[in-house]
Structures are given as structure tokens and as C-alpha cells.
């Protein structure tokens, strides 16, 4: 499935819903939960930070091949690598835990692979998950 949203301002939920409705998505609830969470994180980052005022596009791509689901998000906004943040220290007490950094950490644990590249003025973020 391939879709483009342009502009993206205020469309986080709409984009997530469209991706979760892709025919490539698995039916298993546990897998859908994990995918929903990672898609929400990745799409939210683009909608909130890629463009000034959300005035730009996002291309979303899903495909399913040999039991592996691939999701790719592409935008032409500010270069932003969500993977370069340090992981939160998950051994800290509640008082010491930082509020942020959890979303992408969850994606790293829940997806089989995450890939980021910046090519020809585009951020390209790819997630893969074995779904059967």
C-alpha cells in the first residue's frame, strides 16, 4: 500500500488509521498493538517536527513479503534521525526516570529492525516485523 498525505498538519491520527487499515497488516491483536505503537511514534515525529507548521508531505508505504511486513515513511522535512537518541536508563527509580525517550525505545524493542537514512533531501524511516 502506498499513500501520500499533504499537508500533514493535524493528521497524525488519520495517517495512523490509514496505515493500520492496510491490507498488509496482520490480524493478530498483539502484533497490531506493537505496530500501532511504533507507527504512532514515527508518524507523530514527522507530523510534529519535520516541517514548519506541518506544511509538507509524508509518503507511507507498506508491503508484505515472505511473512515480513515492511513499513516505510518518507518526508522531505528537516533531517531528523529518531534512532540517534540515547536509550532511557530503564533501571532508574521512579524519581530519577526521565519523562521522555520512551517511544523510540519501545519501537526498537518491538520491531525486528529499524533503519533510518537521509537521501536526496528526504528522511526515510523503515521498520520491519515478521508477522507469520
Amino acid at each position: 500500500m502506498d499513500l501520500r498525505f499533504d499537508p500533514i498538519h493535524g493528521k497524525t491520527a488519520e495517517i495512523i488509521d490509514a496505515m493500520m487499515a492496510s491490507p498488509d497488516m496482520p490480524e493478530d491483536d498483539s502484533l497490531r498493538f506493537k505496530l500501532n505503537l511504533c507507527i504512532e511514534e514515527a508518524v507523530g515525529n514527522v507530523v510534529n517536527y519535520a516541517y514548519e507548521g506541518g506544511m509538507g508531505y509524508i509518503d507511507v508505504h507498506t508491503d508484505l513479503e515472505d511473512g515480513v511486513l515492511t513499513i516505510r515513511l518518507t518526508d522531505s522535512g528537516k533531517p531528523f534521525n529518531p534512532l540517534e537518541k540515547d536509550d532511557p536508563d530503564i533501571t532508574l527509580s521512579a524519581e530519577d526516570r526521565e519523562i521522555g525517550g520512551l517511544g523510540i525505545f519501545l519501537c526498537k524493542q518491538m520491531m525486528d529492525s529499524l533503519d533510518y537514512r537521509y537521501e536526496q533531501g528526504r528522511n526515510i524511516f523503515t521498520m520491519k516485523l515478521k508477522v507469520n
Binding site: 491520527a13 511514534e41 526516570r97 519523562i99 520512551l102 517511544g103 519501545l106 524493542q109 518491538m110
Partner: protein
């Protein structure tokens, strides 16, 4: 997403129903404000109706734990569904928030 809060003195009981995500997280944060305001509150949150939480939801739970315990109170989450529990486990939240 609905949050229903009742209290008997300092014993607070909250029931969650629905999803905490981009569209509902701000409202959820407002809805739990009474739990943050009460000093020394013994708070129990029934999570059996919580279908999904994004990382925004986790942040709000962490804030609840930090604020309630700093105020001398206690927080317990009960009846969590397994998919939601897994998210708490992966992030280490199960070690810092009481879940039964």
C-alpha cells in the same frame, strides 16, 4: 477514553476505559488531575478496560507515580491487559510502578 474517579477520603479509585493515544492523551492528563492534586492519596487504577497506550500514556503514568509518591501517597495499577503490561515490562515501568 474515559476516566472515572471516585474517592472515599484519601482512598481514590479510578477506572479507565478505552485507548490513550495521540487523540486522547491530553484529555487523559486533564482527567487524572484530581489524583495529582490530592496529598497522601492511596490511588488504585483499574486498567482492565485500557485497550492501548502509546508512549504519551506511559509518560502520564510515570508522572502519576512520581507525583503521588512525592506527596506521600501510593499508586497501584490493577487488571492490566497483557499487551499493555508488556509495554510496562519493556520500559522497566513494572519495576517502578506497583502493578497487580
Amino acid at each position: 477514553m474515559t476516566t472515572t474517579i471516585t474517592n472515599d477520603g484519601n482512598a481514590y479509585s479510578a477506572i479507565l476505559k478505552g485507548r490513550i493515544d495521540t487523540t486522547t492523551a491530553d484529555q487523559f492528563q486533564k482527567d487524572v488531575a484530581p489524583l495529582l492534586a490530592a496529598k497522601g492519596a492511596q490511588v488504585e487504577i483499574d486498567c482492565s478496560g485500557l485497550e492501548y497506550t502509546s508512549s504519551q500514556g506511559l509518560r502520564i503514568f510515570l508522572m502519576l507515580q512520581k507525583t503521588i509518591s512525592a506527596g506521600g501517597g501510593s499508586l497501584v495499577l490493577k487488571g492490566m491487559r497483557s499487551a499493555v503490561r508488556e509495554v510496562f515490562d519493556i520500559t522497566g515501568f513494572s519495576s517502578i510502578i506497583k502493578i497487580i
